[in-house]
Amino acid sequence: MQKAIKKYFPVFALPTLLAFFISFLLPFLMGCYLSFCEFTTVTDAEFVGIENYLKAFQDENFLNALIFTVKFTIVSVLSINILAFFLALALTKGIKGTNLFRTVFFMPNLIGGIVLGYIWQLIINGVLYKFGATLSLDAKYGFWGLIVLMNWQMIGYMMIIYVAGIQNISSDIIEAAKIDGANKVQTLFRVTIPLVMPSVTICLFLVLTNSFKLFDQNLALTAGAPGRSSSMLALDIFDTFYGRNGWEGVGQAKAVVFFVIVAVVALTQLYFTRRKEVEN
């Protein structure tokens, strides 16, 4: 049968492969090469070695964005996962209105980043106004603003994944723990949490990568203000490409560094949490 199918390569595989080549693979390879070049469009590239990388790491905006992004990711991963997990626990107790609460908590997830950014700009500036401040006054307002926004957007999504994980635990195991005399806290930490580790792996991965790659929300909420001090990595790379003439090569070098960081962080996290998963 394999042979009969194989002949149909042009029908089954070719369209996707062509599109994949044009819009992902070729740009990816060119991106790697261009990070060692000086260029303004892709056709006038001139090889300059690692100069772009040196410039990138000497660029204060880039280092600032890197620190901002790392801090943001740590805080949002912790806050979103802890809150989502407790909401999921509350929504698996069989109390009234569970479906309605789930509907409400999940809804912000569907609203796009640009729209979310402007919604929260209004709210946060409205609160800060009472204290004589605005989002564009200090990067710390932008930081906490993004944290609140990200929590609002992602808690519902993570909650749903945790709910599925908790419902997947056989009630016999919880029952057995109770009979063995485990109290509620012990049951939570010794039984429930180890058994939802597959959900934890997924949720950590999703929040981690989404936080690291955040762009739209950052652009709409603060656009980096004041100055470039609340720019995250993705926004800083965008500004380097399109906001500074002659810096395209540096932008591409920053993008390669960004890619390597995202890949290493994501794969490390997957490796470590996968090891903690146990059979249900």
Partner: protein, 289 residues
């Protein structure tokens, strides 16, 4: 699926009546907090543009109420109805193209087992973790050269970009399709193409719905990719909103509020109509992805 086991029976109430009452109150308050931002935007969309930034939490009154002025201003400034049409066109057709072509290639690389189909599989998986900034500059230049910088050409780009996650997920499910049925169909003399659409694809339907939902959520809200390819010639909704901010001088807060409301309405309506599919889709997508 193991999950089915205790989902259907009514979950036993694990907490006492009084605890339950407390939990309901806390969750209800939290729900209001979750909905509050949307109400604040809705409320402000009816206030005069100079009364918004200073007191966003005040209800509109006789002096500040502006009727539909903001909506009329906003629509004329952004061309939101046409943006809605472009967003809808790009989302619907990209999703159709992605589901159609990636299910075919996923089936092909799962059934034809050679070194290069294996390599393709890993390449698609790899594409999932590469951030967009890594490829955006060369990609937008290539798209310009190939004349893909229009609402039809962008479908090709979305197919290329959506391929990573979609092929990866389809492959996971194709493995679960019993190969005997396909062999039987082949022996009966149908060609692989006919067999794929009559036998395989119907069995992949639940996965196809999941993949359609995940891609639709991403493409409808996507800002940067269409912005780089289409610029402001064919504005999608996120581009139109951002365009309002991009003008000179101070931003028209009234128009902004009205446009945020109009941008959210289709999403909320769609969500309330297809809630079950969406929640099932994102859960299945997350668990497999």
């Amino acid at each position: 699926m193991k999950a089915k086991k205790n989902r259907n029976e009514a979950p036993a109430l694990e907490v006492s009546k009084s605890t339950q009452a407390v939990m309901i109150v806390v969750l209800a308050i939290l729900s209001l907090v979750f909905l509050m931002p949307i109400f604040v935007v809705l409320m402000n969309s009816f206030k005069g543009k100079f009364y918004i930034s200073d007191a966003p939490f005040a209800l509109p009154d006789g002096e500040t109420f502006a009727g539909l002025t903001n909506y009329i201003d906003g629509v004329s400034k952004t061309g939101l109805p046409s943006a809605f049409c472009y967003s809808l066109f790009i989302t619907v057709f990209s999703v159709l193209v992605i589901v159609f072509f990636t299910s075919m290639i996923a089936w092909y690389i799962t059934r034809v087992k050679t070194w290069w189909t294996k390599m393709l599989y890993y390449m698609f998986a790899f594409a999932m973790i590469v951030p967009f900034q890594m490829v955006m500059f060369p990609m937008s230049k290539i798209a310009n050269i190939l004349r893909l910088d229009n609402p039809v050409g962008i479908l090709v780009v979305y197919l290329g970009f959506g391929a990573g996650l979609s092929v990866f997920m389809f492959c996971g499910f194709v493995k679960a399709v019993p190969i005997e049925m396909e062999e039987a169909a082949m022996i009966d003399g149908s060609s692989p193409i006919k067999m794929f659409f009559l036998v395989v694809f119907p069995m992949l339907k639940p996965t196809a719905i999941t993949i359609a939902i995940l891609n639709a959520m991403w493409i409808w809200n996507d800002y940067l990719l269409p912005y780089l390819l289409l610029g402001t010639d064919y504005m999608t909704i996120p581009i139109a909103i951002q365009y309002l901010q991009g003008g000179y001088g101070s931003i028209d807060m009234g128009a902004m509020m009205a446009m945020l409301v109009l941008a959210m309405i289709p999403i909320i309506v769609f969500y309330l109509l297809c809630q079950k599919h969406i929640i099932k889709g994102v859960t299945a997508g997350a668990v497999k992805g």
